[in-house]
């Protein structure tokens, strides 16, 4: 059967009323958290993990993916109207979008963001559907050493290749890897780093760590900034519809953004931000109206918004085909799969095609839902921005602790939540990125397992890691991704990398 048949079957699964409902809940929640500053899709999925234990795996995963897509849509609204990006991937949108809103062109800015997101989401999801089977075929020849090399590459790119400091990125990653060692060793059953505490034998819960780092760490950090007065929300004045010239200037930017964002999301390069910066730079260079950049150029909204949605779909390529998360949200979605005893990867396409293709097809449907939610109903989302901070953050902590209590109502678990929350706060203060900790915790045990398998097969011969051509190339790329930024920063060229700061979502 070809991809199209699978996709049609997937559409049948996705069109079941319950799955449509899950997708609708997902995209609505996703848009809401995308709009709200301070909380993102990674946190939302982490919060929902305990709540969805009893639900059907397919439906929950459809909901999670809907949250991811919705977060990418919703982030643009905040960027444009508030100049405070809701997500790290909407920073660029704020550059031009907020200028447009101040000039009374908030409507067209929101429209080009939403339609661009739709176009990009549609093309990139189809891209995912058509690329995935090839990567699955490739992945079937991967052995433990190739997987290990791939994970090393993911570790390097998530932690040290981007952001403003190799040292801090790596430190975050190794904190995550250390936490990953806690608990019973998967291969020999011995307890490591658990100090005789029974609660630690199962290891650190991904949910607890992610909620603490993202929700509590962020809340503490915002609280510590003190009251800086209310943010100014730009009202949407005038028509929300785009004029003919807006369309003419937008459509190429959408397509270019899509083709920049999708491969970058699909590579183990982490995060949607990089694609948005590249797209912005491209549009600025190609634009016929370069003088408008910095004063509200519509291409500067259209391109990056398309790029960030395309890379969200791109991120699902390594996640579904290789089981390799390249962003914090993807890492937590991987934990979601594991919660149901499913391991994403080539085998999942063979053993559970309905689930995988239902998920992919539901993303196409989710895209249509998001267009409807974000264009005519944009005024409703803007109201969310007027929630006063005390209520907003008090509510965030209510739900953050709810998730942890629901998973394990023990004083110890809440103590860990508080401890990791403080860790997340201190890391924010000193500029340590958060995503590598979460990725390290989730990917660490998998990488260790593959490494030990590879070395068991070779009877302890370490050179085996480099003798497979695929593994050698992957490790070489990882080494380059580690060394080149170090040299760039040492030579004072670090600003560019700092702008591509490591992903939060």
């Amino acid at each position: 059967m070809g991809t199209l048949d699978f996709l049609l079957q997937g559409l049948l699964v996705a069109a079941q009323p319950m799955n449509l409902l899950y997708a609708l809940i997902g995209v609505t929640l996703g848009t809401a958290v995308g709009v709200l500053p301070g909380i993102g899709p990674a946190l939302t999925v982490a919060l929902l993990l305990p709540v969805t234990y009893q639900l059907d795996p397919g439906g929950s995963l459809i909901m999670f993916a809907g949250i991811y897509y919705g977060g990418m849509y919703g982030g643009s609204t905040t960027s444009i109207l508030l100049n405070t990006p809701g997500e790290s991937s909407s920073i660029v949108t704020a550059l031009e979008g907020n200028k447009m809103a101040r000039a009374g062109r908030g409507g067209p800015a929101l429209a080009t963001a939403a339609i661009g997101s739709f176009v990009a989401g549609l093309i990139a999801t189809l891209g995912l559907a058509f690329v995935a089977p090839y990567i699955v075929k490739l992945a079937l020849v991967f052995g433990p050493r190739e997987y290990f090399a791939l994970m090393v590459l993911a570790f390097v790119t998530v932690s040290s290749a981007f952001g403003d400091s190799t040292l801090r990125g790596l430190t975050s990653l190794f904190i995550g890897l250390t936490l990953a060692c806690i608990g019973i060793d998967q291969l020999t059953g011995q307890a490591r780093l658990s100090f005789g505490v029974p609660d630690l034998l199962d290891g650190i819960e991904v949910t607890t760590l992610a909620v603490a780092m993202f929700a509590i760490g962020e809340t503490l950090y915002i609280a510590a900034q003190g009251d800086k007065g209310p943010d100014k929300v730009e009202a949407v004045r005038g028509s929300v519809w785009m004029s003919a010239s807006d369309w003419a200037r937008s459509w190429k930017a959408w397509l270019r953004g899509t083709f920049i964002g999708f491969p970058i999301g699909a590579m183990p390069a982490g995060g949607a931000e990089i694609g948005t910066f590249l797209s912005y730079a491209t549009e600025k260079r190609l634009s016929k109206h370069p003088e408008e950049f910095g004063n509200g150029a519509i291409e500067g909204v259209a391109g990056p918004e398309a790029a960030n949605n395309a890379s969200a779909a791109g991120t699902l390529v390594p996640l579904l085909t290789l089981g390799l998360p390249t962003s914090a949200t993807a890492a937590i979605m991987l934990a979601g799969f594991q919660q149901y005893g499913l391991q994403p990867g080539p085998l999942l396409f063979a053993t559970n095609p309905q689930l995988v293709w239902g998920l992919i097809a539901s993303l196409l449907i989710a895209n249509f839902m998001l267009l409807v939610l974000n264009l005519p109903l944009v005024g409703l989302w803007v109201k969310l921005l007027t929630i006063p901070k005390p209520w907003l953050y008090a509510g965030i902590l209510l739900f953050a602790t709810l998730g942890t209590i629901g998973a394990n109502p023990s004083v110890f678990e809440l103590g860990m939540l508080l401890a990791f929350g403080l860790l997340g706060y201190v890391m924010r203060v000193f500029g340590y990125p958060i995503a590598p900790v979460v990725v390290g915790l989730i990917l660490g045990p998998l990488a260790e397992q593959q490494l030990r398998r590879a070395l068991s097969i070779s009877q302890g011969d370490v050179t085996v890691l480099f003798t497979s051509p695929i593994a050698a190339v992957l490790l070489l790329i990882a080494a380059l991704a580690f060394i080149v930024p170090l040299i760039l920063r040492a030579r004072g060229r670090g600003e560019v990398l700092a702008q591509l700061a490591a992903s939060e979502d």
């Binding site: 190794f174 011995q190 490591r192 006063p388 953050y393 008090a394 902590l397 209510l398 709810l402 302890g460």
Partner: protein
């Protein structure tokens, strides 16, 4: 590379926070060494067992600690914004209160207190308004998640009174 001696060592003040972070990282590495050394190295065919990866991580942590210390001495560690600790103390206090009261007073009251203390941290001073509001909101959430979605959330006097 940021490592190696630099002629500018004396020109800038050492960053004490960076040195503390370096010590903490080294301490974590020490804890790993200490804990893992107790494990019997069930290495099997290969020389890799449950101890290999923790040892490797601990070694990397020591390298990172040294690196952090060097950046600290050279004074080119991260710049920081001034922090206000009052609001942080309120939020942390709220979380601690919820943690300690959860199993005696139940979800709604404990979380209501967390809600009010967080709001206080963000500048909402009317505790006599925010505590009842927080308790009611938490109770609604408890009803939805514990009764409708079957999540096990601890019940206290308030929940038992009404259900």
């Amino acid at each position: 590379m940021s490592r190696g001696d630099s002629p500018s060592v004396e020109t800038r003040r050492p960053d004490r926070a960076a040195l503390i972070i370096a010590v903490v990282l080294a301490a974590i590495a020490g804890v790993i060494f200490w804990d893992v050394s107790r494990l019997t190295g069930l290495a099997g065919y290969s020389q890799v067992g449950p101890t290999t990866v923790p040892y490797a991580i601990a070694c990397c942590l020591i390298v990172l600690a040294v690196w952090t210390a060097i950046e600290g001495f050279r004074g080119d560690f991260a710049e920081r914004e001034p922090q206000q600790f009052g609001p942080v103390a309120w939020v942390v206090g709220g979380l601690a209160a919820q943690m300690l009261l959860l199993n005696t007073l139940g979800f709604s009251i404990a979380t209501g207190i967390l809600f009010a203390m967080t709001a206080r941290g963000f500048g909402k001073r009317q505790i006599w308004l925010t505590i009842p509001f927080g308790i009611v909101a938490s109770f609604v959430v408890w009803t939805i998640f514990a009764k409708v979605l079957q999540l096990s959330l601890p019940a206290g006097p308030l929940e038992r009174l009404l259900f």
